[in-house]
């Protein structure tokens, strides 16, 4: 096993500056997420075509869309990490893929939870086996299986190779989920690039809504980046410990 790829190089100055960089990123994330909460709850104007509980629940849209964008970026990053790993065989990229999948699952679950709560006042049910909801569930299960699959392989390099190949195929479920509401009969609203005549609970986006949506997009991308860097470093530390343990045996 190549120790150079497993252990972190000791560069105190670089490490300190990257730690400061991460702290600044965390602070930026916290500020943007706080701004998102304020914008989603207070700044964005209510949807005029809705009323009562449905109008209030429409504000869930901002965290729902933010989470789904963060989730998409995470799964896309896992695909990039896997492709680069297969080309370069550098374990750092496998760590990027693993960390991205974990965060993608958390954000995907957030998306599902927020959507499910929104659907109660809008569709009068928390859950329905609509094509969009079904494909989202399948995507999440595929990525959960990725993590379980990884845990079943002991050799670090074999694990990285097989996981990378798995992640390439797993990503196919992401565009399928995105297009499911367009290709199949779905009651899920289509927010970007198109309209769904069967959708129940659709809404037009005004100026304040659009601005809030941008804050949500930036906030969730920052949240993903902050968590990714932290988890990536943690996985690196884990490998360093494993290498030390092997060295001592």
């Amino acid at each position: 096993m190549s120790t150079s790829t497993l252990t972190a190089t000791t560069r105190p100055t670089t490490q300190r500056s990257s730690h400061v960089g991460w702290l600044i990123l965390s602070l930026l994330t916290a500020i943007t997420m706080a701004a998102l909460m304020g914008a989603a709850l207070l700044y964005a104007k209510p949807a005029l075509n809705l009323a009562g509980d449905e109008q209030m629940a429409q504000r869930i849209f901002y965290i729902h869309i933010g989470s789904v964008i963060g989730c998409f970026v995470a799964f896309l990053m896992s695909l990039i990490g896997s492709i680069v790993y297969l080309n370069k065989r550098n374990l750092d990229w496998d760590r990027v893929a693993q960390a991205s999948v974990e965060i993608g699952i958390v954000l995907g679950m957030s998306t599902t939870l927020a959507g499910s709560i929104w659907s109660k006042p809008t569709w009068n049910t928390y859950w329905t086996w609509d094509p969009r909801l079904t494909t989202t569930t399948i995507t999440l299960l595929i990525y959960i299986a990725y993590l379980l699959f990884r845990n079943g392989i002991d050799n670090r390099y074999t694990r990285a190779r097989f996981s990378s190949i798995y992640a390439l195929f797993a990503f196919l479920s992401v565009p399928l989920t995105y297009y499911s509401a367009r290709w199949f009969r779905s009651i899920h609203p289509i927010v970007f690039n198109g309209a769904n005549p069967d959708a129940q609970g659709s809404f037009n986006i005004g100026e304040t809504m659009s601005q809030t949506l941008w804050v949500a997009t930036i906030g969730y991308c920052l949240l993903f980046s902050t968590l990714l860097i932290f988890r990536w470093r943690q996985l690196r530390l884990q490998d360093r410990i494993d290498a030390l343990r092997e060295e001592m045996e």
């Binding site: 709850l41 209030m56 974990e102 965060i103 957030s110 939870l113 929104w118 884990q238 030390l244």
Partner: protein, 45 residues
């Protein structure tokens, strides 16, 4: 209002649980690394 509150709490709860898990794992790993380095140092003497 109930749905809105529930959704915001639920979403933040999920993120918080993951962050707490990461924090706890980090603590464990740092402790493990210290113990291993100490053991290696003792062996080297």
């Amino acid at each position: 209002m109930v749905y809105l509150t529930a959704a915001f709490i639920g979403v933040w709860l999920l993120v918080t649980i993951y962050v707490l898990y990461l924090g706890q794992r980090q603590g464990q790993l740092e402790q493990e690394l210290r113990a291993l380095e100490e053991a290696r140092g003792e062996r080297g003497r």
